[in-house]
Amino acid sequence: MLDKARIELQDVSHVFSTPTSGSVYAIDRINLGVPEGRFASIIGPSGCGKTTLFNIIAGLEQPTQGEVTVDGQNVTGMIGIVGYMLQKDLLFPWRTVLDNICLGMELRGMPMREARERAMPYLTRYGLGGFEHRYPAALSGGMKQRAALLRTLLYDSDIVLLDEPFGALDAQTKSQMQDWLLQLWADFRKTVLFVTHDLDEALFLSDEIYVLSARPGRIKAKIEVPLPRPRTRDVFASPVFIDLKRHCLDLLFDASSPQTH
C-alpha cells in the first residue's frame, strides 16, 4: 500500500526549541502515504501540530527528522512541488480575480494572455463567471476561497495541500464549498491532503483519515472511509457514517492514550 503512495512521509518529527521549556515535540514520527488521486484528511485536536505538518509537507519548514517523498524522490524542504491553500484566501487586492487565479501560471513564465485564456473556462464553470474582472474585495467569502482554490489547482501540480480552507466560512457556505470541492476533485483528479479539525467535513470528503493525537502529534489511527461516491449530504445520516464518527470521536477524546516522549 505505502509503496504505491504518491506522496509519503517517513518518520517525520519536528522539535521546536524554546528558551523557556527546552525542546518541544510538535509532531513525532509521522508516517503516512497518500496514493495517486486519493483524498486524505488529517484531523486532530488543536495543538496537535497539524500546521507544522502542513508546512513540512509544503516544504516551508525543514523537519528535525524524517523525510517527505513524492514518487519515491526525497523532496524534504523543497517548495514548488505541492500546491497549497490556507484558510486565508491570500488573493492579492491589486489583481483582478482572473489575474489572481493566473498567478501560478504566470510565475512559471506562461504569457499572461495564454494563462487568462486557460483560466477563463474554469471561472465560468466553477461559479465565478462575471467576476473575472472584479477585484477580490467585491467577492463573498466563499467566492474568494473558490478563487484561491482554483489558483492552487491550476498550478501544475497534481498534489494539493489544503489547510482548513473553509475554516473561516459560515456553516452554510462551508457545506456548499465542500460539495463544490468534491466536484472539483472529481474533475481534476488530484491527490489531496486535507487538514481540518471538523470531523464531519473530514468524513464527508475523504477516502481516508489520519487521526492525530494531541501534542506531540502522532498518528493514532488511519481510518478508511468506505462511503460510496459521489456522496451527497444524505451520508451524514447513514449508519456507516455515524459509526465512523463515533469511532473518530473516541480516538480524538481518548485521554487514556499513553503519553511517552
Binding site: 509544503a58 516551508l60 517548495i79 497549497y84 491570500l90 492579492f92 487586492p93 491589486w94 498567478l103 467585491a138
Partner: protein, 287 residues
C-alpha cells in the same frame, strides 16, 4: 450588603436605594450635536478671518498694535500688489516650487528605493537601519551651511536640503511596508514557483505602495521647508530669499506677502498630492 447598610443615609439624601426599583434617576438623553447646514461653517470661518483683519487694521490705526513691527493688512495688500505687478513674484515662486518638487521627487523616490532594497536582505537591512535612524535624528537644518558650501547657492543646495529632509521619511515608511508584507503570501508565491525577483515585483512592491503613498503628504511639506531653509541661508531667488531680504530691510509687509504666497503654494501642492495619493491608492486597493 453594604447597600442595606447605607440605605438610611441614601434615603436621607433622597436617593433611590432600593435595589429592586429601576434607577430612572440616572436615565438621561444622549447628547448629540446638531449639525449645521453646510454653508454656515464657511460663513463663520469667513467672519473670523474678517474679524482678525479688521482688528489688526484698526488696532494699528488706533495705536495699540505697533504697525512697524507687525505691519498691517492694507500695507501688506499694497506691498503684495507691487510685488506681484512690478517685482519678481512669479520668478521667485517658480524657483521655490521647482526646488520643492525636484527635492520631493528625488527624496521620495530614492527613499522608497532604499526601503524596498531592505527587503532583499534582513542582514544588510539590520546593518543599515541604525545609520538611517541616526541620519533621521540629525537636525538637517544644521547641515544647511555645509549643503550651501558643497552644492553652491543655486538650485542644487535647495534641492539637496529638500532631499535630506524627505529621503529618510520615505525610506523608513517603505521599510515598514516591506516588513509588513504578508509572510503567508510570500510563501504562497514561492510555493507557486516564484523566484525572489518575482516575489519582489509582484508582491513586495504592490504591498509596500500604500506605505510609500502615506509618506507623500508629509514629504511635500518637508521638501518645501528644506527648499526655504536653503534659500534662507544663501540664494539669489525664491520666496525664502524674499522673506529673508525683507526681514533684513525691516520690510515687514513683504515678510507677510512672502509667507502668504508660500502658504497658498503649500495648500495648492498639498491638494495636488492629495489627488495623486487618492488615484494611486485606488489603483492599489481596488474596491
Amino acid at each position: 450588603m453594604s447597600m442595606t447598610l447605607w440605605a438610611p443615609i441614601g434615603q436621607f439624601l433622597g436617593r433611590n436605594t432600593d435595589p429592586a426599583k429601576p434607577r430612572l434617576g440616572r436615565a438621561r438623553r444622549l447628547y448629540r450635536e446638531k449639525i449645521w447646514s453646510p454653508i454656515l461653517p464657511r460663513l463663520v470661518q469667513f467672519g473670523i478671518l474678517a474679524a482678525i483683519v479688521a482688528v489688526w487694521e484698526i488696532g494699528v490705526k488706533v495705536g495699540f498694535i505697533d504697525g512697524f513691527f507687525w505691519s498691517y493688512p492694507s500695507a501688506i495688500f499694497k506691498t503684495g500688489m507691487i510685488f506681484v505687478t512690478q517685482g519678481d513674484a512669479f520668478l521667485d515662486t517658480w524657483f521655490t516650487l521647482k526646488s520643492t518638487i525636484i527635492g520631493f521627487v528625488i527624496g521620495t523616490g530614492a527613499g522608497s528605493a532604499i526601503g524596498l532594497a531592505f527587503w532583499w536582505s534582513q542582514n544588510w537591512a539590520g546593518v543599515f537601519q541604525p545609520f538611517l535612524i541616526v541620519f533621521h535624528a540629525i537636525p538637517k537644518f544644521a547641515l544647511g551651511p555645509l549643503v550651501v558650501l558643497v552644492f553652491g547657492i543655486g538650485l542644487g543646495s535647495k534641492v539637496a536640503m529638500a532631499v535630506a529632509l524627505t529621503i529618510v521619511v520615505s525610506a523608513l515608511a517603505t521599510y515598514s511596508g516591506v516588513k509588513a508584507v504578508d509572510r503567508d503570501s510570500e510563501n504562497l508565491m514561492y510555493s507557486l514557483g516564484a523566484n525572489r525577483w518575482q516575489v519582489f515585483t509582484k508582491l513586495v512592491m504592490p504591498s509596500a505602495l500604500p506605505w510609500i503613498i502615506s509618506s507623500l503628504r508629509v514629504n511635500i511639506g518637508l521638501a518645501m521647508a528644506g527648499a526655504i531653509v536653503g534659500e534662507f541661508i544663501s540664494s539669489q531667488h525664491g520666496l525664502g530669499r524674499v522673506i529673508m531680504y525683507a526681514g533684513q530691510t525691516f520690510d515687514v509687509a513683504l515678510i507677510w506677502v512672502g509667507t502668504i504666497i508660500l502658504s497658498i503654494l503649500a495648500v495648492a501642492i498639498y491638494l495636488v498630492v492629495g489627488v495623486v495619493e487618492n488615484t494611486l491608492l485606488k489603483g492599489v486597493l481596488k474596491r
